[in-house]
Symmetry: C2
Subunit: 334 residues, 2 copies
Amino acid sequence: MKRSRVTLADVATMARVDRAVVSRVINKDPTLNIRQETRERVLTAIDRLGYRPNVAARSLRTARAHMFGLFIPDFANPVYAEIIKGAESEAASQGYVLVTGSAVGAGLGEYMDRIGQGRIDGLLLAGAGDEAGLVEHLDRAAIPWIMLNNRSRSVERYVILDDERAAALAVEHLVRLGHRRIAHLAGPAAADTAGRRSAGYSAAMREARLPEGPIVAAGYTPAGGAAAMARLLDGPERPTAVFVANVASAIGAMEGARSAGFEIPRDVSIVAVHDLELASYLFPALTTVRMPLAELGRRGVTLLAGLKPDDKVAEVLAGPIELIQRRSTAPPPG
Amino acid sequence: MKRSRVTLADVATMARVDRAVVSRVINKDPTLNIRQETRERVLTAIDRLGYRPNVAARSLRTARAHMFGLFIPDFANPVYAEIIKGAESEAASQGYVLVTGSAVGAGLGEYMDRIGQGRIDGLLLAGAGDEAGLVEHLDRAAIPWIMLNNRSRSVERYVILDDERAAALAVEHLVRLGHRRIAHLAGPAAADTAGRRSAGYSAAMREARLPEGPIVAAGYTPAGGAAAMARLLDGPERPTAVFVANVASAIGAMEGARSAGFEIPRDVSIVAVHDLELASYLFPALTTVRMPLAELGRRGVTLLAGLKPDDKVAEVLAGPIELIQRRSTAPPPG
DNA sequence: AAGGTCAGGTCAATCGTTTGACTGACGAGA
DNA sequence: TCTCGTCAGTCAAACGATTGACCTGACCTT
C-alpha cells in the first residue's frame, strides 16, 4: 500500500541518475546514449517503485493529452456501441485513450465547457446534427474534430458511409423478391443519414422503374417506427414491403405492423439499415443491411491522429456493405 | 480568431491585474478582496479572449483532475447505458466529467495503464468480475474506486441492488398466476448478480413451498439465453414458466422457445430482470422487473466524490424495484 | 602537445495554475 | 506623531515531466 505518489525524481534518486535520463528512458529517446547497465538500474527502479508518469505534468509540458473524445447523443442506441468499439481499439493501438461522453440533457456546448481546454487532443462527433453554434464551439477549442456519419453543411470535416448504396441494396433485394409497392420509413429530416438513405431509395426505385411508394419520416427510435408503420399500412394502396432507414425504428415498425394485424413477412416484408446481433433474435428475424460501423470509428481515430485543426476531411468510407437476409422479407402475397 | 492558446497571463495583462487575481476570480476564492470594477475588468477580459483554463496545469497544481472514470465490459449491452446515464448526469452536477471506457479485448489492467496516473480522481467499475490482480491494480493507482452491481470478495467497495428482491418479485408474480413448475435461467457463475438472483429465486420458491425447477446457467447474452432455453424445455418435467436472470438472455430465450415450437405465454411464461424500452417491442412484449440502474450510477458518483482511497463502502441501494407486466407471462396451460 | 570525437550523461528553463505570504496606501484612533 | 488595521491586490514558489544545450573525461589523431 504505497500512498504518497512516486515521481520521476524518486526514480532518479533510486537509480542514481538525473531525472532527464529517466524521462528519456521512458520515452525511448533515440538521442540518449546510455550504458545497458544504467538503463537497467532505471528500469528496475521504475518497477520497484511502481512509478507511473503523471499525465497532467506531461500534458502541460508537451501540450498533448494523448486522449481523444467521442461524443454521442445517446448510449442507449446500440448503433453507437459498434462505433465506440472500433474507435476505442484503434485509439488504443495508436497509444491514445478514447473517452466517450454524451452530455445527457445538455448539448455539446456544455460538454465542451466541462471537458475544458487541453484535456483531449481531438474530438469525434457521432450522429451530431447541424446545430446552431456547433462549429463555433468546436473551433474555439482549437482542436481537430471530425463528424462521423453526418455531414455539417458549413464545414468539410466528416467521414460518412455509403448510405445510398445501402439503401439501394435493400430496395434491390425487395425488387428481386417481386415487390412493386415498396414504401419507405425514413429517418428524421434533421439527420443527414436519413437524407442519404432516402436518396438511395429514390434512385433504386427509379432504376427499377417503380413508383415511389408512400414515404413517412420518423425518429430513429422504436416508438417513432411503430407510429410511422401504422400510418404506412393505413393508406389505400398498401405497400407489400417497407424499407426502414434504421434498425431501431424497424424494431418499432415490426411491432406496429403486428398490432395492426399484419403478419411479417406474409403480409408485408421489412428490411432495415444497420445490422445488430439483436436482429436475429427478433420475431421474425430481421433482414438488414450491414454497415461497417466499427470501421467508421476506427477511421475517425486514424484521421484525427494525423490532422491539424484546419485540415479538411470529406470522406465516404469504402467498406463492406452487405445484405443479411433473415426472415422478415419474402415474396409479396398473391 | 484562435491565435495561440490564451492563458491566465494574457487575461491578467488585458485586465491590468496579477494572474493571481484572475485565478481567484475564476475559482471564486472567498478570501479575495476586490473592487467590483476590477472584477468586471477581469470577467470581460476572460470573455473577450475566450479564455478556458488549461486542465493539465490545473490538475498538476491541485492534484485533482475533476474527472471520474467508468469502466464497463461492453458498450453493446444496453443495461450499461442506463448506468452511464445516471452516472454522467450526477457527475455533471457535481462539476466532474465522466468518461466511460471499455478496453476492448484487453482488461482493466491495460486500461489503467493507458489512463495513466493523475487523469481521473476516481473509478467506477460496472459489472467487473473478481479477476486476479484486480484489486492490486486499482490500489496501485491510489485513487478511490467502487464496484457497481458486483461485489469483490476481497474488499468492501461496492454498491449493489437488491437482486434477491427482484428475483422474488418475478417468482411471486409467476406463482400468483398459478405456475408450480418454475425454472430458472441463471446468469454466469462468475457474476455476482447471477448468484444473488439465484438466491432470490431459491428463497421465493421455498417461501411458496415449490420444488426448485431445473436451473441452467448461461452468459448474459442472447446466444447464451437461446441455448439455455432449449435445454430447459427439453427435459422430462417441462416447466410452465421461466425466470430469466437478465433481459439480454431473455431475448435469446424467447427465440429459443419459439424455435423449439413453444408459444409464449401459452406454453411457457417468461419474466426477466432489467427493464428496457426494447422489452415492450419484443414479441410478445416481455414482462420484466425494473431495477434502478440509473440511480446506481448516480449513487456511485456521489460516493466517489466524497471517498478517500481507503474508505469502505458496502451498500445495497434502496431504490424502487417493480414488476412491469407485459404479455410474456400468463396462467399456465390447462 | 594540441585538438577532435564520442560516450554518457547533467543542467535548468519551461509548460499554465494555484495559493500562502506579503506589501503599499490610506484612514482612524491613541 | 506613531501605530494599527483594512483594503486591494501582488509575489513567487510550487506541481512533475520534457528537452535543447551543455559538460566531463577517455581515447584517438596528427
